[in-house]
Amino acid sequence: MDSVLVNENPIVYPKRKRHVRTDQSNTDEFSVEPIDQLDVFDHIRDIKDPEYPELSLEELNVITEESVEVDDEKSYVRITFTPTLPHCHVPNVLGLCIYAKLLQSLPRRFKIDVRVAPGSHVNEDAVNKKLSDKERMVAGLENPYLVALLN
């Protein structure tokens, strides 16, 4: 990995307040709480950026709650992330981190789709192509360096 930082002093955004879920679930034992946007966002908000290990993706605005699309019934999740700079050189790693984390956290029935936000990166198409190559992604997960970033 390239050790020279492209963006030495990134803008840090304030963390959003964590929603405290109203505990209505206790009243009905058998009601179903579907997996929703906030659920999925909670899984990935604390992933550390590969370039700035002390900052989370949320703080860098790489992902927001709105960048998560979930359909529990169709078992489909799509994450659209925005790299900090258009020529940021780790978008593949970012995408892989998000993918790996969701793979660990979501039930197996889910199809996970991670993409770079349109217009947010110079090599958008190339990155998206790499990210949709599942075999490549799974191979990437073997890298112990990545596993350390996830928690």
Binding site: S25, E29, F30, E33, D42, S105, P107
Partner: protein, 1128 residues
């Protein structure tokens, strides 16, 4: 006695630096103690030590001198001869010049200076040697500290001797402290400055002439920056240091020309700490330096202060309930200190007020006020103006009577003019304008300012009255100004409150706040007449009674009334107490008892209880009113059958229980009132006949039981006795005879139905609650018949009767008969009746007496147990008897009575699929006996607890646990049917989950297999989900404790198997959640024990990731991560 060679040994030990500090301390202590008890004299010691004190070896000499000094230091209490002190001082003074031995010399001088008999010459000698030979800043920390302490001691205890040194002393001190950085030393340094200032107060003295130099040496520390939080440094905090520095700053007026400019400069810094410290210090300095010296700084001070007010005030004005009695905006520390400074300055010198009043901003604020009517419409700058100016004016007004007069004279007329209260002020006469104009000119800014001024003057009266006994404010001009405007002001506020538009919540808020401010003027010097005060109360009360829903204004008005009420009560204002009583309290209480008002009854009760809780007299009135209300509602219900009345009764009782009973310790005499209430409840019930209609009054009975129980619980024993008497007379005239006539025979008991009338049920329940709450010392009339009564009623299925019987056996004194005067029945007799109640079939038992085991009667042979075992009677009767037996058993268990074992035996017998006689048990009876173990072991809220004076033997749960678990365990091993096995497990789970965890942890090896089997048996269906959960909690407790982990490690495979199954338990979310948490906890076990199960756990967890509940999914993710990571 110290032998000479022993002494030498000690000396050698101390001087030898290779020895350990403890050894050195020990030898020091031994020498000191032999001096203390005169086995060794100082002269001898010095002679013996000569070699050490004078040798040319620096190290040995230094240690030797230190030893002598430390010995003197530990002999503070022992008187020494003047000559000895003189010669020792001579020695140490000389050694001050010997820099290698200076530590010993300093310790020695300090120890000697602390003595009473030190001659002035000696002191002077020390001081001179100190000044000439000691270069303080060249020493290490410890020596520096000693130097400063020596100086401190000189200045503090020997000031008359060294005052002659004058300039030299001041100069030397300055030199010594210059550049000091250690916090502990600085604490002493700051004190040194203070002492110097006290020593030389004269304007021609050395401090006055050297003020600039002295100040320079301490000015560099301001504002104090110190970030060490805790730990080392002898726990000195930033606050300590900063307080010391402030005291040094304000120690002498000669610092004024240097200090004030410095402080003003630091005030303009952007650091909060600097601002706060500067403001604090300015306040102290202003008081110490005096008006004359401060005067020239007023202009600068005022503008700096004003800036601080502006920068520390937000524009957010709160309209919340809580801010009715505060200025209504958030205050930070800077703001509070600015307020203190302003108040001090105005209080000290009224001429400072000139700057405030003449300030251009204050004059322009009136234009701002009259430009915007609504607060929310104002631009932020105007909001800030209004808030800051109001705050400045009210703080200045609060400072003194004079300032209050000036502020009111200059501002109040203009304010009234803007608010449209007065037309022309030039003539001095005041003509309030008509109401029509008033309502159109509600300027929020003006109202806020006006309210703040009123509140300030109210506080002023209170301060004033505290200092002078005669009411003097009435003659002051501010008071007469308020007086002349009080009537129209009240009108303005009232009309604001009455505003009925939707968007005038703020009007209403200001109205209530204004009325509250007006209502809180104190006593004799109040500018309000009594009728005006009463008008305020009436307005507020009418708001409360007129509204039919809980609106903001209702809550505001209630809060305002409560504030006024507690204010009056706190300051004992007799006139106002009367008005408050007649207008507010009596009015609300009478409404509560007549229940003829538009307000919902619950709200009325809430208002009444809130208002009345402000003072003891009000509480008394309220309890009396409630009593009347209760009686009239209840009789109304009896006569007309009006459901609303009985509903009101329930609400009233609930209000009593929730609002008043918790405060019984705070309010004097409340106990008596409540007991009276309880007795009149009984009276009322007695006088009422049968219910005229069949109404399910469960709610009422429950409320009445709770109130009755709680009242009896808090009452003294004598009051309990009188309640008992009353209750007994009621019960004996109604149901007691009828019940007593039922003989305790199978034939009679089998035919029992729930056949009590509603009234009898009420009486029985109430009586039971009295019995449940009574203390063991209370005397129970006719206890034997009562036991009979409860016994019959519990067989009829009345649970409170069973609880009452349990409480009785818990509290009756043991011993045969007459040992306890308070009751005509002992525990033995009671048990006789309960267990042994003989009937025709069982004559032989009663004739046989107690059998081989002494007095203890075998319960399994008694009527009750036969019913329990289902030998006779219906299933219904059987289950009732089992539940009843459980409560009786609980009473016995808690006092540690052995008879509970017999009861447990009966209950266990009921759990077997078929008992000794081959009689098959009904499943519902088995279920009830399993649950009986829950009754026995769990803590109950309704009876047999500390609140209700239960007799509780320590460790009773542990005792029952250790005697029951083996029995249950062996029965489980041998159980014949699945049902019986399940029920035995339920019973065991109840016992295990209610015993303290430490007991479980001591027996995990034995219990783990049982718990795990229990978990798997109980998880079969949903009927025991709560029991399952509490058993699972016990398991998780054993997994997280180190004590349980050994056994958990041995049983890892079955534990994991069981937990994995529970992760998909469908009936209770918390079970799944806890099971997953337990799986995480298991990772604490040795790696080799758990690794084989990794695959299995992960498979289960992956399923849990798709759980229907979010909390379970969250735990599953955590668990999955933890288990995945054990690979590497």
């Amino acid at each position: 006695m110290v032998e000479p060679n022993q002494l030498t040994q000690h000396l050698e030990t101390f001087v030898d630096i290779t020895r350990s500090p403890t050894q050195q301390d020990d030898s020091l202590r031994r020498i000191a103690s032999s001096l203390e008890n005169d086995t060794l004299s100082i002269n001898q010691l010095v002679r013996e030590m000569e070699m050490y004190l004078t040798t040319t070896d620096d190290v040995v000499r230094a240690r030797g001198i230190l030893l002598l000094a430390e010995i003197l230091n530990s002999l503070k209490q022992k008187p020494l001869d003047n000559a000895i002190v003189h010669s020792l001082i001579g020695f140490f003074t000389e050694k001050l010049a010997d820099w290698r031995a200076v530590r010993g010399a300093l310790v020695g001088c300090l120890a000697l200076l602390k003595r009473k008999n030190v001659a002035g010459v000696d002191v002077l000698a020390i001081a001179k040697a100190m000044i000439q030979n000691v270069q303080v800043q060249s020493f290490a920390l410890l020596e520096r500290k000693l130097c400063f302490e020596l100086l401190e001691c000189l200045l503090q205890h020997h000031s008359e001797a060294i005052i002659t040194m004058g300039n030299l002393l001041v100069y030397a001190t300055c030199e010594a402290i210059d550049g000091e950085k250690d916090p502990q030393c600085l604490m002493v340094v700051f004190h040194l400055i203070e002492l110097l200032a006290q020593l030389f107060p004269s304007p021609s003295g050395p401090v006055a002439s050297d003020a600039s130099d002295i100040f320079d040496s301490i000015a560099c520390y301001f504002p104090l920056h110190f970030t060490h939080t805790k730990g080392d440094e002898a726990s000195i905090t930033r606050e300590d240091l900063s307080r010391g520095l402030l005291r040094a700053f304000s120690s002498t007026p000669f610092f004024e020309p240097y200090a004030i400019p410095l402080l003003l400069e630091k005030l303009s810094s952007s650091l909060t700490v600097a601002k706060v410290d500067s403001l604090k210090c300015l306040k102290d300095c202003a008081m110490k330096y005096g008006v004359y010296r401060m005067k020239k700084h007023y202009g600068v001070l005022w503008s700096a202060l004003k800036d601080e007010f502006y920068s520390s005030t937000g524009t957010q004005l709160s309209f919340a309930l809580e801010s009715l009695t505060s200025p209504g905006f958030e205050m930070n520390e800077i703001h509070r200190e600015a307020v203190n400074l302003l108040q001090t300055l105005v209080n000290q010198d009224i001429s400072f007020l000139g700057f405030v009043v003449d300030d251009i901003h204050i004059n322009t604020v009136f234009d701002t006020i009259s430009r915007h009517s609504q607060y929310k419409e104002m631009p932020d700058t105007s909001k800030l103006d209004v808030l800051v100016i109001s705050q400045i004016l009210s703080v200045s007004a609060k400072a003194s009577v004079k300032s209050c007069n000036i502020i009111f004279q200059t501002v109040f007329f203009r304010l009234m003019n803007i608010l449209g209260i007065v037309e022309i002020v030039s003539t001095g006469d005041v003509f309030p304008k008509g109401n029509s104009t008033v309502s159109t000119r509600l300027y929020h800014g003006g109202l806020h300012l006006c309210i703040e001024l009123l509140r300030a003057s109210k506080d002023l009266i209170l301060d004033f009255e505290e200092y002078s006994p005669t009411p003097g404010c009435a003659q002051e001009s501010w008071c007469s100004i308020v007086k002349s405007f009080s009537f129209p002001l009240i009108q303005v506020f009232t009309s604001a409150v009455r505003c009925s538009n939707n968007d005038c919540a703020e009007d209403v808020y200001f109205g209530v706040k204004g009325l509250l401010a007006m209502g809180m003027f104190w006593g004799g010097s109040s500018p309000l007449s009594r009728s005006e005060f009463e008008k305020i109360l009436m307005t507020l009360t009418s708001i409360i009674t007129a509204k039919s829903a809980k609106t903001v204004v209702w809550e505001l008005a209630l809060r305002a009334l409560v504030c006024i009420g507690s204010f009056i009560d706190r300051y004992h204002d007799s006139d106002k107490v009367m008005s408050y009583m007649s207008i507010v309290v009596e009015n609300l209480v009478s409404l509560a008892s007549s229940s003829q008002c538009g307000l919902p009854y619950a709200m009325l009760l809430e208002a009444t209880s809130e208002v009345c809780s402000t003072g003891p007299e009000h509480v008394e009135k309220m309890v009396q009113g409630f009593e009347e209300a209760f009686c009239s509602s209840l009789s109304d219900f009896y006569v007309t059958g009006n459901f609303k009345s009985i509903d009101n009764c329930s609400q009233l009782l609930k209000c009593l229980t929730n609002k008043l009973l918790p405060r019984v310790a705070e309010i004097d005499g409340l106990e008596k009132l409540l007991v009276h209430f309880a007795i009149s409840m009984w009276n009322q019930i007695e006088s009422c006949g049968v219910f005229s209609c069949d109404f399910n009054c469960r709610e009422f009975v429950e409320a009445a039981m709770t109130s009755m129980g709680q009242v009896v619980g808090i009452a003294l024993v004598e009051s309990q006795n009188s309640i008992f008497q009353k209750a007994y007379s009621v019960i004996s005239s109604s149901i007691l005879p009828a019940m007593e006539s039922i003989p305790l025979t199978f034939a009679a008991l089998e035919g029992l139905q729930r056949d009590l009338s509603k009234r009898d049920e009420l009486i029985l329940s109430l009586f039971a609650s009295v019995m449940i709450a009574a203390s063991p010392a209370a005397s129970i009339p006719d206890a034997k018949s009562l036991i009979h009564l409860f016994l019959v009623s519990l067989l009829k299925g009345y649970i409170p009767a069973a609880q009452a019987l349990g409480s009785m056996v818990n509290k009756l004194s043991s011993g045969s008969g007459g040992t306890n005067i308070s009751s005509d029945c002992s525990l033995e007799e009671a048990c006789d009746i309960i267990f042994h109640a003989d009937f025709a079939l069982e004559k032989k038992i009663s004739s046989n007496g107690s059998g081989p085991s002494g007095k203890i009667i075998c319960a399994s042979e008694t009527t009750l147990s036969k019913i329990c075992l289902g030998l006779c009677g219906s299933v219904d009767l059987q289950t009732r008897a089992i539940t009843g037996l459980a409560w009786i058993g609980k009473g016995l268990l808690m006092r540690g009575d052995k008879r509970v074992n017999e009861i447990a035996q009966v209950l266990v017998e009921c759990l077997k699929s078929s008992n000794r006689s081959g009689h098959a048990l009904h499943p519902s009876a088995m279920k009830h006996s399993a649950d009986a173990f829950f009754i026995l072991m769990s803590d109950s809220e309704v009876c047999l607890n500390r609140k209700f004076h239960a007799v509780i033997r320590p460790l009773y749960k542990q005792w029952f646990f250790s005697s029951t678990v083996p029995i249950l365990e062996s029965l489980i091993m041998n159980s014949e049917t699945p049902l019986s096995r399940t029920m035995l497990h339920v019973a065991l789970a109840h016992v295990i989950s209610n015993v303290p965890l430490t007991v479980i942890l001591d027996n995990t090896k034995k219990l783990h297999p049982l718990i795990l089997e229990g978990l798997s048996v109980l998880s079969v269906d949903s009927s025991e989900k709560e029991t399952l959960f509490s058993l699972l909690l016990v398991l998780s407790g054993t997994l997280t404790d180190t004590k349980g982990q050994q056994s958990a490690s041995d049983n890892a495979h079955i534990i994991i198997e069981c937990l994995v199954k529970l992760t998909s338990y469908p009936y209770l979310m918390v079970v799944r959640e806890t099971a997953i948490q337990c799986l995480v906890a298991l990772l604490e076990l040795p790696h080799r024990r758990i690794y084989p199960f990794r695959r299995k756990v992960l498979q289960a967890i992956v399923k849990a990731l798709d759980d229907r509940k979010q909390r379970v999914r969250k735990e599953a993710i955590r668990c999955r991560q933890a288990w995945v990571s054990i690979t590497t």
